[in-house]
């Protein structure tokens, strides 16, 4: 930041000088419903003079209208932002609040204690340096207390203040406080909290919040606010190795190439060596240009720009590091995954994973085990539902650079995004990389796909027929293959039913099995394409996600999606294999169109209505498309 040329004087100068040395602390408050979280935050805002007169007037109006404290100010109303929530009397999402004292500025994430909202707490904790865990003195350590404490630990927070609230309601009894402290210390012993303190408070009355309570002479510790002001321990640390994910490459002109990013950890100076991951290339820092002039050194927490001495290939998502402390690079790792979406996780479905600024395709294995957050027991699981936490193995479609979450919060964390809905469906923390993929490398072969295509005097591709059972996929593909064969082309018809006699014999028709079935089929099609063969693939393939995955495996340019379309009434009437009848009778669960959804292709290359068009006309339409694409000789 620029330093003003004319130095201010007087009260403004004193104020700004004080601000200059003030740091920022982000914390989260967690506790069960009615433990008084919102009241505590309201109290902190009130005591630190962050509530203005008009807000106070609105608060006293609201307190009378919907307050739960009789005529008294209901501080919880300050933070319960959304109208619907106010009426329900509970906070149901993450709200951020701000206050500052003479020593520090604070950002507070207020997160709900509701059982079903693990997602929100994890969100609030992900950016916090410290956690306040609230316990109702009358209730002691509850299941929810254990859950919140485990999540705080899981998200890597090591600074914890346990605020034992409503101490006034147990007559300021020291023995209640002591027994809660003892119990809490015992169950959290293995969580590695480096700063753990206990404070008896009454958020409602203000005891031990900013001033020492006269009602509890037995408590000799600091007030809650003093602990907040004095706790050291930021998540962004300078003494860790340098890490920066490249956000973008700036090329305003031919002579300038700057790499933009946020320093997640460590520091960097002009002249330092830099290694780019996953490529492993090495260069040196030529300069650190910025709006306010050239910098000589930059540190964790800053948004910077780097110019290197060499022109090497670096793009968005690459991780810049110092060569002495390389991160892990690989395609497989084990992680804690928190599922944040109403739609359950599908093992082996292709999702997107965003780590730092890099987005790649990812497949999540069936969970190794799920964690019961109340008892910390390991449970068997075949999928993940909203708010589940599990240990899973993930496989990315390209190498990524990362660290273990416990080592580095920013290069060890990722989110999972659904390809179709674009929603953030999960979040994860990397435990360790899996070495198994390191033993597998690509063997270079001399004869490549184009050599085989030349020998066959044809181009290879996969014509992917998707549609309901009975829509006419196999009929159409068979007729097409006859015509292509007559033209002297090497073809192969991959049929879903036929594959199920062998390669996919172990799979059923659940969603998970359908996903695996299509994964195998896609790879077979891709191998056949590499062999120079034109593939006709007939699979119901009801989900857009899996058709997208197939396209990625087979290759964008080699994948031709044909939507074989007929209304359900027509396909059910045709019922060539008698399957609809069985499904209607309930003998065939998960049957597409009956009790399992068919997602219509969004933009197929060819769309054929088999209820309107004859087989030969359909074949002609496909042949015309292949000619237009120069796929036929």
């Amino acid at each position: 930041m620029k330093v003003r040329s004319s130095q201010p004087t007087g009260p403004v100068a004193d104020f700004l000088a004080a601000q200059e040395s003030k740091g920022l602390l982000r914390f989260i408050t967690c506790g069960s419903v009615d433990d008084g979280k919102s009241t505590l935050i309201g109290r902190l805002l009130y005591e630190s003079k962050q509530i203005f007169d008009d807000q106070l007037a609105a608060l006293s109006q609201d307190s009378e209208r919907v307050g739960t404290q009789g005529g008294n100010l209901d501080f919880a109303l300050l933070t319960d932002g959304l109208q619907a929530e106010r009426e329900q009397g509970i906070t149901i999402d993450v709200a951020y609040r701000f206050f500052s004292t003479d020593r520090r500025t604070f950002i507070v994430a207020d997160t709900p204690g509701h059982e079903q909202y693990t997602r929100n707490m994890v969100t609030g904790a992900s950016t916090a340096d410290l956690a306040i865990v609230l316990i109702d003195a009358r209730k002691g350590v509850l299941t929810q207390t254990r859950r919140h404490t485990f999540l705080v630990h899981l998200l890597g927070i090591t600074n914890v203040i346990v605020a034992i609230n409503k101490i006034d309601l147990v007559d300021y009894d020291a023995s209640v406080f002591e027994s809660i402290e003892k119990e809490y210390r015992e169950f959290s012993r293995d969580f590695g909290f480096t700063n753990l303190s206990f404070v008896p408070v009454s958020a409602l009355n203000g005891d031990n919040i900013t001033t020492r309570s006269v009602a509890m002479p037995w408590y000799t510790g600091e007030t809650l606010l003093t602990i907040l002001e004095e706790t050291e321990g930021h998540i962004l640390t300078h003494d860790k190795p340098f890490r920066m994910y490249v956000q973008s490459v700036s090329r305003p002109n031919q002579d300038f190439r700057g790499y933009l990013g946020f320093v997640a950890s460590g520091s960097l100076a002009v002249g330092d060596n830099i290694q780019v991951q996953p490529s492993g290339r090495i260069s040196r820092v030529a300069s650190l240009p910025g709006f306010d002039g050239e910098r000589q050194q930059v540190v964790a927490g800053e948004s910077i720009q780097i110019v290197l001495t060499d022109e090497i290939d670096i793009s968005r998502g690459d991780l810049l590091c110092t060569p002495e402390s390389a991160p892990e690079v690989g395609t497989q790792f084990e992680a804690f995954v928190v599922w944040t979406d109403e739609t359950e996780m599908m093992p082996h479905r292709s999702y997107l994973l965003k780590i730092g600024t890099k987005t790649v395709g990812v497949m999540i294995d069936k969970p190794k085990y799920k964690i019961n957050v109340n008892t910390l027991e390991h449970l068997a699981a075949s999928t993940l539902e909203l708010n589940d936490i599990a240990v899973c193995i993930l496989a990315t479609d390209r190498p990524v650079a990362f660290d273990q979450y416990v080592e580095n919060r920013y290069s060890g964390a990722f989110v999972i995004i659904d390809r179709m809905t674009s929603k953030t469906v999960g979040a994860g923390m990397i435990r360790h990389s899996l070495r198994r993929d390191l033993n597998i490398s690509w063997q270079q072969t001399s004869i490549e796909r184009h050599h085989r295509e030349e020998l066959n005097r044809q181009r290879s591709a996969t014509i992917w027929f998707t549609g309901l059972s009975g829509s006419g996929k196999s009929t159409l593909a068979n007729a097409l293959e006859i015509r292509l064969h007559a033209m002297g082309l090497r073809t192969y018809l991959l049929d879903g039913d036929n594959l199920r006699h062998g390669l996919t014999r172990d799979l059923g028709f659940t969603t998970a099995d359908r996903i695996e079935n299509l994964r195998r089929a896609s790879h077979v099609a891709q191998i056949l394409n590499n062999a120079g063969v034109l593939v006709l693939a007939c699979f119901i393939s009801p989900f857009e996600s899996e058709r997208t995955s197939a396209k990625e495996v087979i290759g964008q340019d080699s994948f031709i999606e044909v939507f074989v379309d007929a209304p359900l009434a027509v396909t059910e009437k045709r019922d060539p294999k008698g399957l609809y009848k069985k499904a209607r009778a309930g003998d065939l669960p998960n049957f597409t169109g009956i009790d399992s959804e068919y997602e219509r292709p969004i933009s197929p290359a060819i769309h054929i209505h088999t209820d309107e068009l004859g087989v030969e006309a359909g074949v002609d339409a496909i042949l015309q498309y292949l000619r237009d694409q120069k796929l036929l000789p």
């Binding site: 930041m1 620029k2 330093v3 003003r4 007087g10 009260p11 403004v12 104020f15 700004l16 601000q19 200059e20 040395s21 003030k22 740091g23 920022l24 203005f52 008009d54 300050l78 933070t79 932002g81 959304l82 109208q83 619907a84 999402d93 993450v94 709200a95 951020y96 701000f98 500052s100 997602r119 994890v122 969100t123 992900s126 956000q247 973008s248 700036s250 090329r251 305003p252 700057g258 933009l260 990013g261 946020f262 240009p289 910025g290 709006f291 306010d292 050239e294 540190v299 927490g301 800053e302 948004s303 720009q305 944040t340 965003k354 920013y410 964390a413 989110v415 674009s422 953030t424 979040a427």
Partner: protein, 305 residues
């Protein structure tokens, strides 16, 4: 060059770095981004941060001002001056329907005026240019419903915000993916407070509209607020008379809907001093927030920025 005397960043340095990271991330993920420019102090700060984020490259997006034709005259002058200074590409949109119907705050009331000019106008402009990501200068400390909104906030193809169905936002990993027609609003100043904004303006010497500074101005008292008579479209009620008072504005919007406060703060030092001892919040000067409980939340659900 900056000389650091302490091991950690100051809170303003941390906020600056976070905002720049957000702006760069949004631009990297967007197809067609735009920055909503409302001419106020938050817009000034956001624009300054955007320049820092991409220096020495020019701004990689245009600025969009959704103009209601009822802004203070000085704001429009400042808009022209700033966009020229920064070398930004400025788009101005005025809802043609409002022009035709002559929508104004006096005859139609603040809620119709705001909905038609600003909410509908914004939607029209976003659709017209096909922007899939728009930066806004809103801060979480301004208002309770803002406190819960994400930094990257998803809007449906009808520009609707669903507060119950927000994407979880973890660490500093932002998800800007969206389907066709859907869009993302991005708020780089989410974690700034009013005081942070003024301190930053002061430290960085960022230009702001002179209306923020106290000066003797013609005002009338109306509905408990001091309204400045900015042009001859403002008709006085029988009981009203124009007073010359030394006032300033804590927030800027349409002049008939923006209340002034009595003040002697003629410069930034004065404003900062005033803020250390402030007893009212800045949105107090905005008529639109007082219409009904939860009014901002309702507006946001309908597509207000």
């Amino acid at each position: 060059m900056k000389v650091r005397t302490q091991s950690h960043l100051s809170h303003l340095e941390a906020l600056e770095a976070e905002a720049i990271h957000i702006i760069r991330e949004a631009v990297a993920e967007a197809i067609n981004p735009v920055m909503l420019y409302s001419i106020g102090k938050d817009s000034s700060v956001m624009l300054h941060l955007a320049q820092k984020a991409f220096f020495p490259a020019p701004l990689p997006f245009p600025l969009l001002h959704v103009d209601t034709t009822w802004k203070f005259g000085e704001m429009i002058e400042f808009r022209a001056k700033m966009t020229q200074l920064v070398g930004a590409d400025l788009l101005v949109h005025q809802n043609p329907e409002c022009i035709e119907l002559g929508i104004n705050p006096f005859d139609h009331g603040s809620s119709v005026h705001t909905d038609m000019w600003k909410t509908q106008g914004l939607k029209q402009a976003l659709d017209k240019y096909g922007f899939d990501l728009a930066f806004g200068g809103a801060r979480r400390d301004e208002e309770k419903s803002r406190a819960k909104e994400r930094v990257f906030s998803f809007r449906s193809d009808k520009h609707v915000w669903d507060p119950k169905n927000q994407r979880p936002e973890l660490w500093n990993i932002y998800n800007a993916r969206h389907g066709a027609g859907e869009s993302i609003r991005v708020f780089p100043l989410s974690n700034w407070t009013e005081l942070d904004v003024w301190q930053y303006i002061y430290l960085e010497a960022i230009p702001v509209v002179p209306l923020y500074f106290a000066k003797v101005r013609p005002v009338v008292e109306r509905d408990g607020m001091l309204i400045m008579v900015d042009d001859d479209r403002m008709k006085l009620r029988p009981e009203e008379s124009i007073q010359q008072r030394k006032v300033r504005f804590r927030t800027l919007g349409c002049y008939p809907l923006t209340g002034a406060v009595d003040s002697d703060s003629e410069n930034l030092e004065g404003i900062l001093t005033e803020l250390f001892t402030a007893t009212t919040s800045e949105r107090q000067g905005r008529l639109i927030d007082h219409d009904a409980a939860g009014s901002m939340e309702k507006k946001k659900i309908e597509g207000y920025f």
